[in-house]
Structure formats: structure tokens, C-alpha cells
């Protein structure tokens, strides 16, 4: 696998690779842009951009039903948009969603409107009964491989929260 210079991106790609996660359903964020660009540039993954996070949960559930192990990448603001599908589709049928969430409203945030859902994200996930893991540095990605695999085996969703500081962290 070709390497970029960016260990924050490579750590995520390694995580996706180890768990066999594919397709990757995406919505953009400034902070995940280098990651999404890397994904688009590698034929290893099928990337499906969608129009709204709720729709993305639906597509991910369809892909899982079709035998794949999908993952989603979106912003914390999208958690609200995804909520009913997470509860009444993913949760109801026990179709697990693996969500990589760019947690906005964290230290370094410049857009005030990102604060509400960014701050609510952990409580929101707790309300939905979805285990979540805060990813502070690339080495944290290694330690969540097993928990996410275990959750998948139990048909449970997982959420990885990437605060803004992750993208400038080292090792």
C-alpha cells in the first residue's frame, strides 16, 4: 500500500484495512478532506458520497445486508441528521454501523455553529446506546481495532470521535 507522509491519515487507512471495512460512505469536512482524498485515490476502497448522513446510514445498512462491512465518515453535526435511521433501522434490526466522526466544536474550532452537536456528540451516542471511542492520536487507532471487531461480531455499532486536535497530533 502506497504511503503518504501523513500519519493521521495512514492510521485511519490501516484501521479500515485491518477490519476489511468497505464501502466507505462519506460526507465532507475540512479536517477529514486529506483522508477522503486518500481514499478516493486508492482502488482498494469503494467510496460512496451521499447527500445527508441519514441517507448514509441507509446506504450502509443496505451494504451490510448485501454482505459488506461498510463504514461512514462524517461530521458531528451529521449525527443529529442520522439519528432516526440509527435508532429505527440500524438499532431495530441490529445492523451495525461503523462511524468515523469528525468531532467539531472541540479545541481549535472556529465555527461557533459547530459547537452544539460537537459537544452533544458523546451524550447523543450514549442515548443511542452506541459505544464510542475518542481518538486523540494515531496510536489510538490501533487499540480500537479489537473493540470495533467485537462490536461488529455482536451486531453493535461503533463510533470513533476524532477531535480537531487529532489531525495535527503526532504518533
Amino acid at each position: 500500500m502506497e504511503q503518504t507522509q501523513d500519519i493521521t491519515v495512514e492510521a485511519v487507512l490501516s484501521f479500515l484495512e485491518q477490519l476489511g471495512l468497505d464501502p466507505i460512505i462519506t460526507l465532507p469536512c475540512n479536517y477529514t478532506a486529506p483522508l477522503l482524498n486518500s481514499l478516493a485515490g486508492r482502488s482498494r476502497w469503494t467510496v460512496i458520497p451521499c447527500s445527508r448522513e441519514e441517507e448514509g446510514v441507509g446506504i450502509a445498512c443496505g451494504a451490510y445486508l448485501g454482505g459488506k462491512r461498510p463504514a461512514m465518515i462524517f461530521q458531528s453535526s451529521g449525527l443529529g441528521n442520522a439519528s432516526n435511521a440509527l435508532a429505527s433501522l440500524s438499532g431495530l434490526y441490529r445492523i451495525p454501523a461503523v462511524m468515523l466522526i469528525s468531532q467539531r466544536g472541540t479545541f481549535g474550532e472556529t465555527i461557533q455553529a459547530q459547537q452544539p452537536m460537537g459537544r452533544l456528540a458523546p451524550s447523543f451516542l450514549k442515548c443511542l446506546g452506541i459505544p464510542f471511542y475518542e481518538i486523540l492520536s494515531p496510536r489510538d487507532m490501533e487499540s480500537v481495532v479489537e473493540p470495533v471487531e467485537t462490536n461488529l461480531a455482536r451486531c453493535m455499532s461503533s463510533a470513533l470521535l476524532f477531535p480537531i486536535s487529532y489531525w495535527t497530533s503526532e504518533g
Binding site: T46, I48, C50, E54, C61, G62, N84
Partner: protein, 186 residues
């Protein structure tokens, strides 16, 4: 045409294709038309029939038929452009349009007055959209199953429903038997 008659007509033409059906009366009518393990009956998450169908179409080779309603499709119009972008050739979207929210008491939707879902589907970038009358239904569905075209059928149907009985299946039952049935390939 009555929606349950349309559903029956479609089911008659099926072999082992996947069907993803909108929640409420349509799923109940699909169940009554002849239960199949390849039917994914939605029970909640209104608006998700098309995204689920798209995820399925992009993940496995079997043909996917999505039965959607006007009320649910209006909740998620963005999925029409996502569909047009992805352009899978194994998905048929059937829009059963009765201009109302049937399962909650037939309150009107925008398609009963101002909105045209076939036009919205076309304007979203889908190239093969047809509004179909009763006498053309079988021919159009058969054509889609055999050749992949047309890709979207917009079918005006009458208000009314054939069933009020909940489907006697648990969500996980629906999931498990569905995944097992389609794992074998077409």
C-alpha cells in the same frame, strides 16, 4: 389502480430478485402478496427504502426492486441524486404515489397538489424515469427486470390499503432470513 394490485402484479413477475419495501401498509400488502425471504420489510426509518436499496445494489449482483411511497420519498429527495450519481444498473425504483400519508390516516402530501416526483427524479439526474399507467405496468416492469430499463417507474395509485395487520416477523428475523437468502447469489 390500487396499490396492493400493483404490488401483486410486480410480485407475480419476480423470480429471486430482492425487494425493499416502504414501511406501513405497502410492506403489509407485500407480505400478503406472498411472503419471500428476499423481501426486506421496513418497519421504521421512513425515507430509507431507496438508500437501503442502493447500498444493496452496489454490494451484490442480484437485482434490487425498491417500493417507495410519495410521503417517504419526499422525506429524502437527496437520495434521488445520490442514485443518479451511483447509477447502478441493477436497481429498479417503483414510486407508488397516492398523494397521501396512508398509514397515518391519508393526510395529503405535496404530490397531491404541487409536486411531481417523476420530474424531481429526472431533474436529480436520473435518465430513465417513466410515469406508468395501469395497462403498461407489467410490460414496463418486465422490461426493467430483463434489460435494466426503465430504472424508475412512477405509478399513480388510488388511496386505500388492503391490510392493517402487522407483519408477524421480528426485525432480526427479517434481517437474518434476508441475508441468508441473498448470500447464495442470484
Amino acid at each position: 389502480m390500487k396499490r396492493d394490485e400493483v404490488i401483486r402484479e410486480i410480485v407475480k413477475l419476480l423470480d429471486d430478485e430482492i425487494v425493499v419495501c416502504n414501511l406501513g401498509h405497502p410492506s403489509q400488502e407485500l407480505y400478503l402478496a406472498g411472503d419471500r425471504h428476499q423481501n426486506f420489510y421496513m418497519l421504521g426509518s421512513m425515507g430509507m427504502a431507496l438508500p437501503i436499496g442502493l447500498g444493496l445494489a452496489l454490494s451484490q449482483p442480484r437485482k434490487v426492486i425498491v417500493l417507495e411511497g410519495d410521503g417517504s420519498l419526499l422525506m429524502n429527495l437527496g437520495s434521488l441524486s445520490t442514485l443518479a450519481t451511483a447509477q447502478p444498473n441493477n436497481l429498479l425504483l417503483v414510486i407508488l404515489d397516492n398523494g397521501s400519508y396512508g398509514s397515518t390516516g391519508y393526510q395529503p402530501t405535496a404530490t397531491s397538489s404541487v409536486a411531481n416526483l417523476a420530474a424531481i427524479a429526472r431533474a436529480s439526474g436520473n435518465p430513465s424515469v417513466e410515469t406508468v399507467a395501469e395497462k403498461e405496468l407489467s410490460r414496463k416492469v418486465r422490461s426493467s427486470l430483463e434489460s435494466g430499463l426503465p430504472r424508475i417507474l412512477h405509478i399513480p395509485v388510488e388511496k386505500g390499503h388492503a391490510s392493517m395487520k402487522p407483519i408477524p416477523l421480528e426485525p432480526e428475523q427479517i434481517k437474518h432470513r434476508f441475508m441468508k437468502a441473498i448470500r447464495q447469489g442470484p
